[in-house]
């Protein structure tokens, strides 16, 4: 074969992962009698199997075949859908994913798990389907699948003598008359024969009777017919399945040789009389030629076929469900972008080019009378640039369902593990979020959902005692608020008792027992390193990723997390994230001659200092009374060693900011504009600077530093400690 199949592997992988996600989602929503869902799950499995076969991922093919068989029985109504079957199928989905990932990374996988699952699958298959009117064909298919089972676990410990019935070899006669255009639709008889050869002993006779004279040959047409003799243990259904993709484009006749002996023999004589034998190992025949010519079309169409062919067989609605399903891809660096987004970009670039040519024409021959046109042009340019910027940012935006997709399964598994009944409600999954943020928010969200299921929702007995519905509810909600996205994870569980947290924190030495804290401050203790309220560390939580890590991850993204809870009613974790990491809303402030940018998200309020509210306490620490809070004042000029114009606090401007749950007031000389700034790294050409998270370029081309609030608080603390050490030395 002259074509490098490997270039199509990434799209196969991508589609397989989509298929798996589809299967998983389908299985979680599956209830008896829901044939549409079973169909769509079956088709997803079938596509994976077909694709894996094409690319030679045999372990995937074999394993998926078992899954498919089980699904097939459900589809035909021969087996009732039981929850234990669904569990096995879900496990199988995990295994297929494992196998595909292993194939992708060319690494080994957890063979034991796959073998265990495949054993369980084949045991399930070996049990007679519960439906009483099991047909003969049904039994046959179960028996005939046994060799498949055998080979599946051939690379795993063989622990089943369960396959007691010896497989019976049948001889089949397959008459395969493809249409002329078969090769053009991307099908290759050679693949079919290879697949058949895997089922058993194969003899192929090609009929060249229809072959026109060389001058009349269209190289892209398929003129050959085949007659195939197959000695195999497989069932007719298995053989038919191999031809499934081409069944609309050929005349196919599969017969068991005993039944059709007379017919076959006569037929065979006819063919054998004047036809050369085509063997698979020696392909000098026209078949090879056709393959050579058509292989490009073959492969480019191969992936489409996976989706389209099943859809043709069934309802078109389902097809839409498959194709419109949001495409997710693990960690590869590519995004699928909707055509509409690209189109709007092209339009905008077109407009930009027009504006540009208009402006340059104006510039060629400019005099003062054209000033108005120039202003108009510049205005248009501004508009174009803004729209272009927004469109480009939109390309990186993906619906949050990418991050939410994993939770139905997670909650399902957790519910089983903890013996609780939990319902997951997902809202706002179309809310769009930057791809980078999305990738990094997945783990913290998983942790929060896991916590809600494990610690939040009470056990069934406790819920009944408290007069709640047995079924607990966890809801995920995402929505836009200003320039941010808010993700809420709430449960209707026991809620968080601030007193318990307080006690625990005192016990752990995180705080002093004499401190009085508001509820919000108490909840913040949850995020302290080394704090865990779990009475017992369970299998589910306590995996070493604590809430402190959750908070750190969210903060690293420039977001924050808040907790709200009512005892007995449940708790809500509210995660606030910036839409994108590349652009930030900032408040420009001036200190001396320098301009700094404070991220708007960190600012609580800006105010002019009222002298009466300044307090000097405990050795010249300056506190500002902001309603109930005492806010330490940090003079920025001091932290950054700058010359400020205003060093006394009288009427000075204070920007109250919050980071790590700590409020401080930054003393600045002037408040300037608020604007969006593009974040540039200082690390590229320089290094990390304390108290500065990055830099940006202002409208006048100058560089301004973006402040890192928690860094500044840290610096102020260190400074205070140094002063303390110094003064203690001088005392000594």
């Amino acid at each position: 074969m002259s074509v490098d199949l490997s270039q199509f592997i990434p799209s196969f992988l991508e589609e397989s992962f989509e298929g798996l996600a589809l299967m998983e989602a389908g299985l979680l929503n599956l209830h008896p009698g829901d044939n549409e869902t079973i169909h769509s799950i079956f088709r997803a499995a079938h596509s994976i199997k077909g694709g894996a076969g094409t690319f030679g991922f045999n372990n995937v093919t074999e394993f998926t075949h078992l899954v498919e068989t089980l699904l097939d029985e459900m589809r035909d109504g021969r087996r009732e859908v039981s929850s234990s079957d669904i569990e096995i199928l879900l496990e199988s989905v995990d295994c297929i994913r494992l196998l595909i990932e292993a194939a992708r990374d060319e690494q080994s996988y957890d063979k034991e798990k796959v073998a265990k699952t495949s054993t369980r699958l084949s045991e399930t298959l070996a049990n007679h389907p519960s439906t009483s009117n099991a047909t003969l064909r049904n039994d046959e298919s179960v028996n005939n699948h046994s060799p498949g089972v055998d080979s599946t676990i051939s690379d795993a410990p063989k622990d089943e003598g369960a396959l007691s019935e010896a497989p019976v070899k049948n001889q089949y006669n397959i008459n395969f008359i493809p249409e002329l255009s078969l090769a053009k639709t991307g099908n290759d008889p050679l693949f079919l024969f290879s697949a058949l050869a895997e089922l058993g002993e194969l003899t192929v006779f090609a009929s060249t009777a229809e072959l026109p004279a060389l001058t009349d040959i269209d190289a892209q047409e398929l003129y050959l017919h085949w007659n195939i003799l197959l000695n195999s243990t497989a069932s007719i259904a298995d053989i038919a399945e191999i031809f499934e993709w081409v069944e609309d484009e050929c005349v196919l006749d599969i017969t068991l040789i005993e039944e059709a002996q007379i017919k076959t023999e006569s037929h065979q004589d006819l063919i054998l009389g004047n036809n050369p034998e085509v063997s698979l190992s020696n392909n000098e025949s026209p078949a090879e030629k056709i393959v050579e010519v058509s292989s490009e079309t073959t492969l480019s169409l191969a992936s489409e076929n996976q989706i389209e062919v099943p859809a043709v067989n069934n309802s078109t609605i389902e097809k839409e469900a498959i194709t419109s399903k949001p495409k997710s891809k693990a960690d590869a660096g590519s995004i699928r972008v909707g055509v509409d987004k690209v189109d709007s970009l092209i339009n905008l670039v077109g407009e930009l080019v027009i504006t540009q040519s208009m402006l340059s024409e104006l510039g060629n021959d400019f005099d003062i009378s054209k000033v108005e046109r120039l202003t108009n042009g510049l205005e248009q340019l501004l508009q174009n640039t803004k729209e272009l910027q927004e469109s480009v940012m939109r390309i990186r935006m993906l619906p949050i369902s990418f991050a939410f997709n994993r939770f139905p399964r997670l909650v399902h598994d957790l519910a089983i593990k903890t013996g609780k009944e939990i319902e997951l409600i997902i809202k706002g999954e179309q809310t769009e979020l930057d791809k980078t943020v999305m990738e990094q928010i997945g783990d913290p969200l998983t942790h929060l959902v896991r916590n809600a299921a494990d610690h939040g929702i009470e056990s069934q007995e406790v819920r009944l005692e408290n007069g709640k519905a047995v079924k607990g509810v966890i809801s995920l909600d995402a929505y836009h608020q200003g320039g941010n996205i808010v993700i809420e994870i709430s449960d209707d569980g026991a809620g968080i008792n601030p007193e318990v947290i307080f006690k625990k924190a005192v016990e752990k030495g995180l705080i002093d027992s004499s401190v009085t804290l508001t509820d919000a401050q108490t909840y913040d203790l949850l995020f302290e390193p080394g704090f865990s309220t779990a009475a017992a560390i369970t299998d589910i939580s306590g995996r070493g990723v604590g809430m402190d890590v959750v908070k750190r991850n969210i903060q690293a993204l420039g977001g924050r997390i808040q907790v709200d809870s009512v005892i007995g009613k449940g708790s809500t974790f509210k995660v606030n994230l910036p839409l994108t990491l590349a652009i930030l809303d900032g408040q420009l402030v001036r200190v001396g001659t320098e301009v700094y940018i404070i991220p708007l998200i960190a600012i609580v309020e800006s105010l002019q200092i009222d002298d009466k509210l300044i307090n000097r306490v405990s050795g010249d620490m300056v506190l500002y009374r902001l309603r109930e809070d005492n806010v330490p004042i940090i003079p920025l000029y001091q932290i950054f060693n700058l010359k400020a114009e205003k060093k006394d606090l009288h009427n000075a401007l204070l920007v109250v900011v919050e980071a790590d749950g700590q409020k401080v007031g930054l003393l600045v000389d002037d408040l300037l504009a608020q604007q969006q700034v593009v974040i540039k790294s200082l690390k590229d050409n320089y290094q990390q600077v304390d108290g500065v998270s990055g830099a940006t370029i202002l409208g006048d081309g100058s560089v301004a530093m973006i402040l890192d609030i928690s860094g500044i608080i840290h610096m102020a603390l260190e400074r205070a400690q140094q002063t303390q050490t110094l003064s203690s030395y001088s005392v000594a």
């Binding site: 950054f640 590229d684 290094q687 600077v689 304390d690 108290g691 560089v703």
Partner: protein, 173 residues
């Protein structure tokens, strides 16, 4: 006009100018510049551009020799004053004060830094064997930054090691 034939007529040493075109016979080219009255040189292939001095944005708590950062076509470039770094001359900023922006590509990344000098003077063609090792008597310029010395007429030019200069951590400490 047959340039090759003309190039052959030119004596085999030094640098010659013909209608504004420099013919390089052999060796590498180095950009020389002045710090006070001392001459220094860097590999010309590392020179990104030469700009006039503009006041950079201060980096908080940076060492004295790091004047800040500037915006060079959307890239944030730190500015190091070599006169302060090397303790040569006085750090005054006049109209003739220039910034030589150097880019050095190491194995994993490239780094761009601007260096403040008093003036740019010339381009030198130097054969490798003309570069002499610097005596270890040690002036105020740390030995690690010096690649060697070049004799240019009556002057001695200090050839600087760009790879070392671009290690911003060395300036920071």
């Amino acid at each position: 006009m047959n340039i090759q034939a003309m190039a052959q007529e030119i004596p085999p040493e030094g640098e010659h100018s013909l209608e504004g075109i420099d013919f390089i016979i052999s060796g590498d080219q180095y950009l020389t510049f002045l710090l006070a009255d001392e001459q220094y040189a860097v590999d010309i292939l590392c020179v990104e551009e030469i700009r006039s001095w503009e006041k950079p944005t201060i980096i908080p708590n940076a060492p004295l020799c790091i004047k800040g950062v500037i915006n060079m076509r959307g890239v944030i470039v730190p500015i190091v004053d070599l006169r302060i770094k090397f303790h040569v001359g006085e750090a005054v900023y006049l109209d003739t004060t220039v910034v030589i922006v150097l880019t050095y590509q190491s194995e994993d990344k490239s780094r761009t830094i601007g260096f403040v000098v008093d003036a740019v003077s010339d381009v030198l063609n130097v054969e490798e064997q003309e570069i002499k090792p610097a005596p270890a008597f040690g002036g105020s310029v740390a030995q690690q930054f010096i690649e060697g010395l070049i004799n240019n007429d009556t002057n001695i030019v200090t050839l600087l090691n760009v790879a070392q200069l671009q290690q911003i951590e060395r300036h920071a400490s």
